[in-house]
Structures are given as C-alpha cells and as structure tokens.
C-alpha cells in the first residue's frame, strides 16, 4: 500500500499527509430471535491533507483508483483556502516508522457466519423472560489495516481487530421500559464469550424498571455509578479540555490551566494506551503516539487535549489526540477517559441521609461554552439513611462543569471499569471508552418528574 501512496507525497506543498485504510467486516442483527440483518463487506478509503502557505486542503475517496484526483483536489482546496490571512501550522513531532499488529485471541474470520448466528441465538434465548416484549442483539466484527505517511518521513501501518456486541431489552407493563448492555473493543470473536450473562442482565433490568418510581426533580446528594462517572469525565471535562474548543473560545476551561476547579480527590485521565479498550490506538491520525495524560489532577486543570495543529497554535506539543475516519478531516478527540479510583468503599459512599444512587447511562451532552451538562441514567435507587430503598427510573443529572467537581467528596476504591461508546463531534463518530470508579457528589440537579 505504501508504494501506491508514496508518489503523492511529491506534490509541491509545505506539508502532506496521506491516510488509507482497508477493512473486512461482518455485522449481524437479531431482533426478537430473528436474523434481521446480516451484512458482510470490504471497505477501503484514502485521504490526503495538504498544508500550503498556512492553509489546509483535504480530499477523500473510497475509490482507490482516484488517488490522483484526491491528491490534486486537496492541493486545490489548500490554495483556495488561503484567505483571511490563514496561519495554520503543526507542532514538531517525531516522524515514526512503525508497524503495529494487534492480534485477536479468536480471529473472527475463523468463525463462519452460521456459527456467529447460532451463538447469538443462544444469547437471545437467555434474554427471553416474562414481561420482555422485545429484545435485540447487534454484533459486528472487523479486521482493519490503517496506513499513515507524511512528507516528514512518517510511515505507520496498524493492523487491528474491532468487535462489539450490544443487547437491548424492552419490557412491557403499564409502560415500556428498556435497558441495554454492551461489550467490545480491540478484540476478535472472544467478545462474545460470557456476554450471555450481560445480555440476560439487560432483560432483568428492563423488567425491574417497570415497577420503579419517578423521583421529583430537585437537588440531591448523588452517588454515581461508573458508567455515568465515565460520562461525566468524557462529556463534562474531556470535551471542555479539547484544545480546538479552547481556540474557538467555546469552553469554560479557556484560560483556566493550573486553576483549581474540583476537590482534591478529583483526578481525571485520558489514556489511549490501555490495551484493547474501545478508545485505544497506537498512533493517532497525525502519526503521533498515543499517550496517558491527566486532564484534572487533584482538582486542578492539568492538560488540554491537542492535535498537532492546536499544539502549534498554543505553543505546545501534541498529546496524540487527533483522530478521524479515513475520509474525515481528523480533529481533536478523546480516547479512554475516566475518573481515577479513590479510597472509599460503597458503604462509605452511601453515607447520605436522603439522596439518589444512579447507574447505567442513557446518553448525555455538554454545552462547553456555557459549561452545562446533562446525562441520562438507566436506573437508580433512593438512598435513605445510608440504605438503598426504592428503585427509580427515567433519571438524569444536570449541572455546571465549574461547580460539580467541587462537590465531589468521596470516590470509590474499586478498580475503574470501562464502557464502550461512540462520541459524536462535528458530524463525526469516533470509538471511545469512558469509565471510572463510583463517586459521590453533593447537591446536584436530578431530573425525574
């Protein structure tokens, strides 16, 4: 592949980078035990990014016979963009020459579609139970090869697996309630091992939610489970630490490097190097090595997330966080973002007179400009005098980035657990994971009825 791409590095420009990818994959969807969709295919794509006289041009194709058109289009776009006195640049980084091969324990290509369907049907059977109106399973696997080369001499090839499985159950009583579980990352077919138990758990939760109560919307002391803790780390802090938002002046953390915004207990990390997690990668899409960095250390803003472009503008080094699909302009993204563990056991965390324990996430969003966030929780329990008393449903928490971390007064001592997700930003979708240990936050807004 490098031979095919190399010649387009000879165009006259200040900087050229070429990315290409090939992948082969399968996906199977089961709905209520029926094979709904089963799709197999091969994808390939390439893109060229060029910087000339301080302006960027980008072009992409999924037809590798059009590489010349792609390279020339990128050059043309860079020339057209030289308006408004552009001053784009990139930070100086080491140009790596490397080949990384991540092997799955069980190569998905070694398992027939027939076996995959049969294994999924077995999992589906575990999801069937009284009051479950429908359930679905969605499985996908792929083996991808990514190629990165640039005019500074970088040549990187990465071969990696990616497999995910999602289970969703809907229970019907007086209303409909649903719950879901997932598993996945840089794995092969082994992702399916032991997922049956998780899928069954999704059905049990959906049924339990039928008899759960709504809570009155108000401020409560809240213990947050690891799935939502991860969302808090990703949505509320991670996005606000993305340096492109800093440059846009659209984050409340602009100008707050070194400032204390949380309690001493709060350490939030973005780490793309943790083996096999869904947000893990060896090199980002600018050829910079993946890294571990503290976004918040002992409550203090410690690091922003950078691409080479944002690092150049803010006079620092890239943190290896520039990511994008092959046909997308790479932008600043997170990897695996989480709260580091503390020293409290669960009983300590529940030391609340009247509050709420929430777990399981249902999506969330942050407005980095205003510093507001909101996350949905799959379920919760009322805490009364340190005991979990009543199950709750349709919950959300909302707050302000600059206020909430100060209200964290205990963090669980259990090992952080991670949950796969896809992060949407500027119309792009990127695999990430989020997680952490349980945390206790005093007096935040809980949405209910």
């Amino acid at each position: 592949m490098f031979d095919l791409l190399e010649k387009y590095l000879n165009l006259k420009a200040d900087f050229i980078e070429i990315r290409a990818s090939k992948s082969v994959g399968n996906s199977v969807q089961l709905k209520s035990g029926e094979v709904k969709d089963l799709v197999s295919g091969e994808d390939s794509a390439a893109s060229v990014r060029i910087m000339q006289k301080g302006a960027w041009g980008f072009a992409s194709t999924n037809d590798l016979s059009r590489l010349e058109w792609t390279a020339k289009s990128a050059l043309k776009m860079a020339r057209v963009s030289q308006k408004l006195n552009q001053k784009a640049g990139i930070s100086k980084e080491k140009a790596y020459v490397d080949r990384v091969v991540i092997k799955p324990k069980k190569d998905p290509e070694d398992y027939s579609l027939e076996q995959k369907v049969n294994d999924l049907l077995k999992i589906n059977n575990r999801m069937k139970m009284k009051k479950i109106a429908s359930c679905s399973l969605s499985y996908s696997d792929s083996i991808s090869s990514k190629y990165y080369l640039n005019s500074e001499g970088a040549r990187i090839e990465i071969i990696f697996p990616l497999s995910n499985i999602f289970a969703n159950s809907t229970a019907k009583g007086n209303s409909l309630q649903s719950a879901y579980k997932s598993s996945g990352g840089l794995f092969g077919y082994e992702v399916i091992d032991e997922f049956g138990e998780k899928a069954e758990e999704a059905s049990k939760i959906a049924v339990e939610l039928l008899t759960a109560d709504l809570i009155k919307s108000d401020k409560y002391d809240v213990v947050i489970g690891s799935e939502i803790t991860g969302l808090l780390a990703h949505e509320a802090i991670g996005h606000a630490c993305e340096a492109d938002h800093i440059l846009e002046r659209s984050t409340v953390l602009e100008g707050r490097m070194g400032q204390k915004i949380g309690s001493d207990l709060v350490n939030i990390v973005d780490d793309g190097t943790i083996p096999r997690l869904h947000g893990t990668f060896s090199y980002d899409d600018e050829g910079v090595k993946s890294q571990r960095k503290y976004l918040i250390k002992k409550g203090v803003v410690n690091s922003f997330l950078h691409s080479r472009e944002t690092a150049y503008k803010l006079n620092t080094k890239s943190t290896g966080n520039c990511r994008g699909g092959t046909v997308e302009v790479p932008i600043v993204r997170m990897s695996n973002t989480f709260f580091e563990r503390g020293d409290a056991n669960f009983d300590d965390l529940l030391d609340i007179k009247y509050g709420v324990y929430i777990e399981g996430f249902k999506g969330g969003q942050v407005n980095t400009t205003q510093g507001d966030f909101q996350f949905g929780a799959e379920r919760g329990w009322l805490i009364e005098n340190g005991e979990l008393t009543k199950p709750l449903r349709d919950l959300s928490i909302a707050g302000s980035i600059l206020d909430t971390l100060k209200r964290v007064d205990a963090i669980g001592k259990e090992k952080p657990s991670f949950h796969l997700g896809y992060c949407g930003k500027m119309g792009q979708r990127m695999r990430v994971s989020t997680g952490g240990s349980k945390i206790r936050v005093r007096g935040i807004r809980v949405g209910g009825s």
Binding site: E34, W56, M77, Q177
Partner: protein, 427 residues
C-alpha cells in the same frame, strides 16, 4: 456524473446475480461534495470528497440476503456473501417491484448550484465570519458546502429508477458572553448563508446571561427544537416494524387517539424543493403523501418491503438507505404538521425554550424527558429576560395530546410546520 456505460454495467451485474439467485437488486450511489469550515475568524479547513458504492440484495428460496461492494471487481465476492447470508434470513416471500414509471419531484436538482466554484463557497465563510463580528458577537464556527449525488436501483424484475440531487447547506455558531447559538439550513439550491450568521448572532445576543427559573408555564418551542424532538420521537415510533415488535409507544395504537384532536401529521415526499422529497423510495416503490396522524388519531405507520411482510401489511414506500453498507431501513420523508388549534404568538405570554441539551435522554418508549435548557427566555409577544440553568421536564406524548400550533409556519430541513405551544414544567 454517472455515464450510461455504468448503468449498462449494472444491468449486467443484476443479470449475473439473478442467475445464482431467484431475484436480485442493486442500488448504486455516487456522491461528490465540496465544503469549507471556519473556526473563530479563520478558514479551518476545506474539503473535497468522492464516494461511490453498491448495495446488493438477493432473494433465494424466499429469503433475502444482503451485501455491498465499492468496486465492480468485488462483485463476485459480494454476491456469494449475499447468497450465503440469505440462508439465515426468515422466509418472508418478498418480491422486488416490477417496472414502473415515476415522475421526479421538482426542485431537487439545481445545475446553477454546481456552477458555484470553490472560491465562491469559501467567500461564504468570510462573509459569515464578518457578519457575526459586525453584529457584536464572536464567531465560533461556521461552514458551507455543496454536494451532488446520483443514485439508481435496478432489479431483476424490471423495477428501476434513477435520480439525482444537489444539496447546499450552511451553519453558523456565534457566541455572546456565556451563550453560543447555532443557526443552520439546507436546501437543494444556493441561498445566502449570511442570513444564518445574522440569526446566530441575534440569538446569542438575545439569550446571553440567563438566570434559573422554575414553575409551570405556557411554553413555546421553535421549529428548530420541534424538529429535534421529532428526530427522536415520533420519528422512531412511526416505524411500523418497531410497533410490530412491540418496541414503540405506537404499538397497538393504530386507530386510537395519540394527539390533540386538531393535530394532523403527514409524511409528504411530493413537496417541490423539499429536502426529503423523492419520487419513489430506495426499493423502487412509489412515494405518496400519507396522513400518519389525522385529527389526533394514529392512522398509518411506515413500512418497507421487508417490514411490511413481517407485519403482514403493504409497504408504504418508506424504504430508505443511509449508506450502501448499512441495511435498508424505513422512515418518513418530509414531515408536515397542521392543526386548527392555533396560538397567536403576538398574544403569547410564557417562556420560549429555544434549545435543550441531551435531548437523546428522552425515553423513546414512554416519552418521559428532562432536558437542561441551553437557551430560553420569558416571552411576551417578543423575547424578554433570558433563562438557563434549569430543565424542561415532561412527557413528549402528553405534549402531543395538548399541543397548539403557533402562527409562524416555517420550513426547517424536513420539518414543515410552526412553533409548538403547550403547558409545561420547568425545574
């Protein structure tokens, strides 16, 4: 963009597939796009892209198998995969449609847009940035881009269609003090994106420095927010398949009251220039205007060939593809909302909720939601004191039953209707 020889090649591929299967269908899509994006007061990047792909469906022994490919040289592998995959499908007895003539909807292809060169498109960015600054707000990001697509479907039963589209879209996000506001628009033809820059700046200025409030109020939400609600619900719930699988609020509610007595919701693919307008769906089934909700009663749900067979009903011509590599789904085209229950905005007193965050937290199945208000204000015929730091809580399906439409009919992407007003709770 797509020459006759490529179509002849497609015919050959369909014939080849039909020799191994009982029926075969190929959907072909080719798309080019050019776009520019600004961040703060600079052009951040410019982009050109070309993509094409083929979706293949075969029916063998009454079962459907699916695959896709990007290059005709990969066809044999894709065909074998699709035939193999059909073994695991349910025997539904689907038949691909026969030959039928369709009349293209007016205004979905505009040659003049394609004459706009890269310089003119990049000028849009410069003008949007200048406009936001002139208004006294801060440009955060903006973008403008055009695209052209050609797509066609051929099947072994003679069914076929060809269609081409142009699209132009732009967006502007402006900030004033603690508030950022976005304005966006899409069309098949060029429009002046400066109007979006002006609007985003005006909104940022109007909603800055809001304060929390709480209580029960008459609420008005603009079409931009209505459309966002409808992307979640009932868009998903109008899915006939979801209802059939009892995974939707609308399950078992056909013929029953689900909305205000005066409310009508139409799926209308025939609107000239409409962003969702099509002459037929991606399976080659004619697309017609249909009432989804008539006088508050759920009238019809949306099906493609496959989901209709499962639900033992007929397709509504609602089978659409997001890409060639994803399975064909079903959904509405343009959503038109009308009602005789009208509120005059000039006389309206209450709260305007302009934007919410985390709307995906709306429970798709029971309609409950609690969403933080990103921008809003007291409203008394016009926007007054801004609010934020509070949440709108309620149930979307209860809103449907109590909604009154405002007298400000608008078009926003695929939504044709006015603002909504209803009694709501802010905490």
């Amino acid at each position: 963009m797509c020459g006759g020889s490529e179509l002849e090649d497609l015919e050959e591929l369909v014939k080849k597939a039909a020799m191994k299967a009982d029926q075969a269908e190929i959907f072909y899509l080719v798309k080019t796009s050019t776009s520019f994006r600004g961040i703060a007061d600079k052009i951040n990047f410019s982009r050109s892209s070309f993509s094409k792909g083929y979706a293949l469906r075969v029916i063998k022994d009454g079962k459907m198998g699916v695959s896709y490919f990007y290059n005709p040289s990969e066809f044999d592998r894709a065909l074998n995969t699709a035939i193999y995959a059909s073994r695991f499908a349910e025997k539904l007895g689907i038949q691909f449609p026969l030959k039928k003539a369709f009349t293209e909807v007016k205004g979905v292809y505009d040659k003049k847009l394609l004459k706009k060169d890269e310089n003119e498109l990049s000028d849009c960015i410069v003008q949007m940035i200048d406009t936001v600054k002139r208004k006294g707000a801060m440009p955060i990001r903006c973008g403008a881009g055009r695209n052209e697509s050609f797509f066609c479907m051929l099947n072994s039963e003679g069914g076929e269609f060809k269609s081409k589209r142009t699209g132009f879209s732009a967006h502007s996000t402006a900030r004033f003090k603690d508030t950022a506001q976005t304005s966006d628009k899409s069309s098949h033809s060029f429009f002046n994106p400066v109007e979006l820059a002006e609007k985003s700046a005006d909104l940022a200025l109007a909603f800055a420095e809001g304060k929390p409030t709480s209580g029960e109020f008459d609420i008005v939400i603009p079409p931009t927010l209505v459309a966002n609600f409808l992307r979640l619900e009932p868009f998903a719930s109008f899915s006939g398949e979801k209802a059939f699988r009892k995974d939707s609020y609308f399950s078992g509610k056909k013929g029953k009251k689900v909305a205000d007595d005066q409310l009508n919701v139409y799926d209308d693919p025939t609107i000239p220039n409409g962003m969702g307008s099509v002459k037929c769906d991606d399976e080659g089934v004619a697309a017609n205007r249909k009432a989804l909700i008539r006088n508050g009663i759920l009238n019809i749900l949306l099906y493609n060939l496959e989901t209709a067979r499962r639900a033992k009903t007929k397709t509504t011509g609602s089978g659409f593809r997001n890409s060639v590599s994803h399975p064909l789904g079903s959904g509405p085209t343009n959503l038109v909302i009308t009602s005789k229950n009208i509120t005059h905005l000039d006389d309206f007193k209450g709260i305007m909720v302009n934007s919410l965050i985390a709307m995906q937290n709306l429970n798709q199945r029971n309609g409950n939601f609690s969403c933080s208000i990103a921008s809003g204000a007291f409203f008394n015929g016009e926007i007054g004191k801004p609010i934020k730091g509070c949440s709108l809580v309620g149930n979307f399906f209860d809103i449907l039953k109590n909604v009154s439409l405002a007298d400000d009919e608008q078009v926003y992407h695929k939504y044709y209707g006015p603002s909504w007003t209803f009694r709501g709770k802010i905490v």
